[in-house]
Symmetry: C4
Subunit: 223 residues, 4 copies
């Protein structure tokens, strides 16, 4: 098993999962006299869920790609950690659909739906952290170990992310729409954060694997 | 992040989005005595929507591929512009299904459905233009900057396309079937235009990135 | 546009179309007292349609790959011919579902359903022939033109296939299950024929592009 | 046909099949007063089926990749054996949905559903063994034939697996949940077994193609 092959398979799974999000948005059924415009507007939670999950999966794919840019050798445990991550990634369209369906109902069921959503996202984030921890714990798996301060700051970022997702999960019982809003803000933040990330800066919230300029890490990221 | 990897991921998303169009065409349910042939014929908007969206996605993939043939380096903003484009691309099966469902109902709802369709296509076209503007605004991202007149004529093409999509969007309130017809004509036009496009000619309606013969641009498009 | 890139995109579309076939097989709904085994058995047309369409798509992918092994340069017309082929390939899950749904109903509707199926398969076969005719009509598109007798025998094969699919289409009005059976026999025949095909033999029914042993053609098929 | 191309196509099919598993998990519909939490909990067979099938497909993909790491040349029979394997692989979401739907109903239908599930998994395992037997029966297809004792122990592993799947299939008539549990334990076992597999050890249950460290086999697995 080479890193390239595992990454290509994972890329495919990410691409399909992100595209399958659309099949959870159903054309509304309205009676002949009723307004389609109103019905389309009323299912805004479906669109919100689509955008949030799309961003989350997009950012996860990006980070996945960056982490595997470091990997020189795939061992058995990494296969398991990666399979575990993909299991949660592929699942995301399901809680997205549940959240979209029950968000406007309010009360206990809306909270349950958002808790399910937050729980699956949190599980995916934890799986990501576990994968990253494994990859960086053993220098033999890497082309070249990143400097310890980069690994340390990345782990702080991951911990920060997990704390934020836990807050969003808890928010489900306060207000379901607010919880979705928090997920949206976080997804947006991470998407833009990714886009300006520099290894040297070590800003908060995402793995310290830069996509900018020539760095020792990037030499290995280029295939 | 290398250009190749981002392009491979985007290619996957395009391929899946174009294939998912078929799952919005449902086998009709007819009573035992009724005619399946009539029922199949009656859902012609589904087939029309399938063909139009298929062409639109096919042409977009082609242009996407050509633009990325120019790209030497991926920066953070490009990641965001590309993710934004894919967000609209992946969404296309949804308005296609809505348009197919309500086109024959006529009246306000048919207009709403086609306006949704036209709006999503326009959003995708705008996202495309933004991506192209970003790629060509910074020579550092490119293998070799295309000549200024090529960039200028490409932007004119894009502007022309956006104007045309805006007209098609407005047409939804005049006549929904006509609006779909206009989308069809435009998709067909762009598909064939793509197929005969030469950089030197600079005809209307698509990015000036030729797929024909050896040109300075094509040297970079070949990987 | 390079041949490799177009082929990779097409491969992705084939792989997704072949996999989407499964979502047209639905778990049967039976009342608490009724037998699931009987219900599962009763939907055998779904399984038959799945197998037949799977074989057809598999063989088409194989032939597509072989034809593109010959292609050195992609021109605009080839893009259109390929897009047209993919349009029919992606559609196949729809007539498969219609045929599976109405096959056992018998009468006019079963014939209509099988005629739709046969018609789409025939359209795909015609699109394939058009693509092949275009690729082989212009030596400039090829790495090395196949010998004229190979092209000639391939065209005979294609013509034979189109005649056979036309017969299967007509059979829909004689007996729908028989028409499906004929499609099955043909798909099986082509699958095994593919697997034993040699360029030198020029047997009936598939493009003369061998997958066996070192031949002048295969040198180019290897990427 | 090159081994790489066939493998890339197969990888795509595996990635799509594993991702489509999620669309068989439907958001539950609950009345306004009823509890979504209870409804979500009650469909645990869907989650269990998802996890088990995900692991099975993941492990099959892994083994598929390893076997093709050995293959130097693709002949016609290998194409057929591979197409046959993919036919069963792609089908897996269907029995998964049936098993999830009927598991809790108990009685005859639950047994039927689990027997269908076990039968399809067994058919996939048999298809896998046939593919492996073909690949290893002819040294001409391989980069370098694995040592006879490796082939022998691999075949023992496969036979062991087929025996285990047969037991799980039979278990469907004893207790449907127990049969699913047995599938789960086996999938988990194989997943972890894969991850620690060494060619030299020759442990039970999976093809003897290591993913660990530099071995004579791995030289060919690296592309």
């Amino acid at each position: 098993m080479t890193s390239n092959r595992l990454e290509a398979f994972s890329d495919g799974v990410f691409a399909i999962a992100i595209t399958l999000l659309v099949i959870e948005i159903h054309p509304p059924e309205v009676a002949a006299g009723a307004s389609l415009a109103v019905a389309l507007f009323d299912q805004w939670p479906s669109y919100a869920g689509y955008v949030v999950s799309f961003l989350i999966l997009g950012v996860m794919w990006l980070n996945h790609h960056r982490i595997f840019g470091l990997v020189a050798r795939v061992d058995g445990a990494l296969l398991i950690f990666n399979l575990n991550l993909l299991l949660w990634v592929v699942l995301i369209p399901f809680p997205t659909a549940v959240a979209a369906r029950y968000l406007l109902e309010g009360g206990r069921n809306a909270s349950t739906a958002m808790a399910l959503y937050g729980g699956v996202i949190l599980a995916a984030a934890l799986s990501f952290s576990a994968l990253y921890a494994w990859v960086t714990h053993d220098a033999e798996l890497l082309h070249q170990a990143p400097p310890p301060e980069v690994v340390r700051s990345s782990r702080i970022r991951f911990s920060f992310g997990i704390a934020a997702y836990t807050v969003a999960l808890g928010m489900a019982w306060v207000s379901a729409p607010l919880a979705l809003g928090l997920h949206f803000v976080m997804a947006l933040y991470y998407a833009f954060d990714q886009s300006t990330l520099k290894v040297e800066e070590g800003g908060p919230g995402a793995p310290d694997v830069s996509n900018q300029g020539p760095t020792p890490l990037d030499e290995h990221a280029v295939r």
